[in-house]
Symmetry: C2
Subunit: 385 residues, 2 copies
């Protein structure tokens, strides 16, 4: 196991009806900005529950946060915050809304010239407005971690700070019942790949981390498809398992003390930046190719993954690895996401511009070994064709 | 899954050399009381590392915390704290030292007449001195949770408050290399039974929690014996896995959203209170008997435990449960702990006084079903003879 520091102080309120817990989390004299996306929360009852819980506080709203939240949208909130002396942000939505709220929290108190520097120059965040989150789409883990991704002019870039970690997060699985199949499928795949980025590297004999990761993968494999199947999709226990898995997949725990990869994400960001493909769908395209291209570097863990997650014990090593990759692809397909560039109408000629962008974004030494150069990324994308 | 709130803000510094992290955790103007036990930390180098990390701060010491820390010892620290205006407590030791420090932290700022009321009357704690912990014996999980157990006149009683949760904990597995086999065995068994108390109940379809628990149990089963075997006991990776398992076993995570039992602990406390038996050794005696007596209530989980933790798939249900209980006992035996009252020279005539004490301590509705009366506890102890 590698040395690590682990700290996750977000208070999680999990279960049906927990939106009411906001009332004890946000100070009664706070001026709150509710931040949300396209307005689905007004149709599914979440908005009403949130407003009821905030009773007595001055409340303002900022909506229209899009998937892959854009800088241009987010900065519009700053005037609302300034004008109304907002001192608490409440994100109500999925990962994009929470990510966008993290950027707003930092930008609102940013003392430099241009808040884009937070992302572009990775300028250190020294203060941020407090954030609470009501999660409506289990996927990114953003509700209890320090990271976020913001997009500007086709550049999708990450930043992180402990100061933008939500103080609390409400996870009510009942809220996820109104999600579309596409949103559910994307969310499950996103959580799955988050786990893989922290698991499918090389062994440092971190037995707890490995087994926790395997437990999350197995849970997503079992209950992800159930969250889509007509006969089980209304089952709150299924939704709860998916929701808790997604949070645990990226709250810092399973990655503490072990190497991490993140190649799939960094390449995937370019697919979203250039072609607007849903985040999870970039991951389901890139991960199988990473598994194939990095087969030797990841051999030991691929075999462990085959055995423990998929119960694959027959055949020689290479056959078992092949089966595990095929099983991963089949799982993605079952979740309704693409596994090839051709599935999203991209081809050979689309690869080079993305490689240029990767280099432009400094993504030239990816993976747990820091040895995935743009040339290797090109190979990965070719294998994903 | 049941509704839950999960919050664990303790910052964990894990790995060799991490004692130095104390320097950034405790304010430089703090007046610190180092609290420890019998003095082993002065022999194994831990004390020197702690003192070096605290350089520049006013530092006082309070030692002599015994296993199952006694009220009479703990209250002696209060004069030292008052006299020297101590404002930060640093526990350096195992679970008993951390538990004792938690009591001291609350007692030092207690506004009632008698600090024993914190335990005896479960009087609410409204303030406490901040605590840091340098763990030397992985076992209880006390380094990042809110609970503690204190003993007075043969009464071993628990209390809990978020205010006594350590702000930070240093977990350096190298520190555990000087432990005796007895301490290592006890620690592994303690962590194992903590996990079982939160796992071996009835299913609420909490798949993440179940799998995390199973992962901890498997890790302890694999690496616990290695921490005793001459050829592997110096392996830091083994020690690290045991240490991280013990923290995760009782930091609130695996028990969030699932029923919990704790019968074994409550009966075990009486064994320690009346006969001074090591905490873990009471658990290894009581748990197998609880598994036998509560076989029907726990049937589903016993079968899951047999299959997933012990890989037992042959035979009918009852045969598989029998094998799982036998495997648990064999594991305890391998860790050098007793599994019967007779192993610690107790017999039939010792049972009744403990049942009287249990009732006296209000432990009359134990277990996940709140239906273990003193009569059932008597049966459990008889089965453990």
């Amino acid at each position: 196991m590698l040395n690590f520091t682990f700290h996750n102080p977000t208070r999680i309120h999990f279960g049906e009806g927990q939106i009411a817990a906001i009332a004890k989390e946000i100070p009664s004299d706070a001026t709150v900005l509710i931040i949300y996306g396209g307005g689905s929360i007004k149709k599914n009852g979440v908005y009403d529950q949130v407003v009821a819980a905030l009773e007595g506080r001055k409340v303002f709203e900022f909506s229209g946060i899009e998937p892959n939240p854009s800088y241009d949208t987010l900065v519009k909130s700053l005037a609302v915050i300034r004008e109304n002396k907002v001192d608490y942000l409440l994100a109500v939505g999925g990962g994009s809304v929470v990510d966008g709220t993290k950027f707003i929290a930092a930008a609102a108190l940013f003392e430099g010239d241009d808040p884009w520097d937070i992302v572009a120059k990775q300028q250190r965040i020294t203060q941020a407005l407090p954030i609470g989150a009501v999660l409506t789409l289990p996927a990114t883990g953003s509700e209890s971690n320090t990271g976020a991704v913001v997009t500007r002019h086709g550049n999708k870039l990450p930043f992180a700070s402990p100061l933008v970690r939500p103080k609390f997060a409400v996870l009510d699985p009942a809220v996820t019942l109104t999600l579309s199949d596409r949103q559910v499928g994307n969310g499950v795949v996103d959580a799955f790949v988050h786990t893989m980025e922290q698991y499918l590297t090389y062994s440092v004999n971190g037995k707890v981390q490995d087994r926790f990761s395997e437990g999350l993968l197995q849970t997503l494999i079992e209950d992800g498809p159930k969250a889509l199947a007509p006969e089980t999709k209304e089952d709150l226990a299924v939704r709860a398992n998916v929701m808790w898995s997604a949070t645990m997949a990226l709250n810092g725990l399973i990655g503490a003390g072990v190497p991490q990869d993140w190649t799939t994400h960094m390449i995937g960001h370019e697919l979203t930046g250039a072609h607007g493909i849903d985040h999870a769908r970039t991951l389901s395209i890139v991960l199988p190719a990473v598994m194939k291209v990095r087969r030797e570097e990841k051999r030991e863990k691929l075999l462990q993954y085959a055995a423990r997650v998929w119960n694959i014990h027959d055949g020689d090593e290479d056959a078992r690895i092949d089966q595990a990759i095929a099983a991963t692809e089949a799982f993605f397909t079952k979740m309704g996401v693409p596994t090839r560039l051709s599935h999203v109408d991209l081809g050979e000629s689309d690869i080079e511009p993305m490689i240029v962008k990767l280099a432009e974004h400094g993504m030239v030494k990816l993976s747990e070994h820091r040895n995935i150069t743009p040339d290797v990324s090109r190979e990965i994308l070719r294998v994903a064709l």
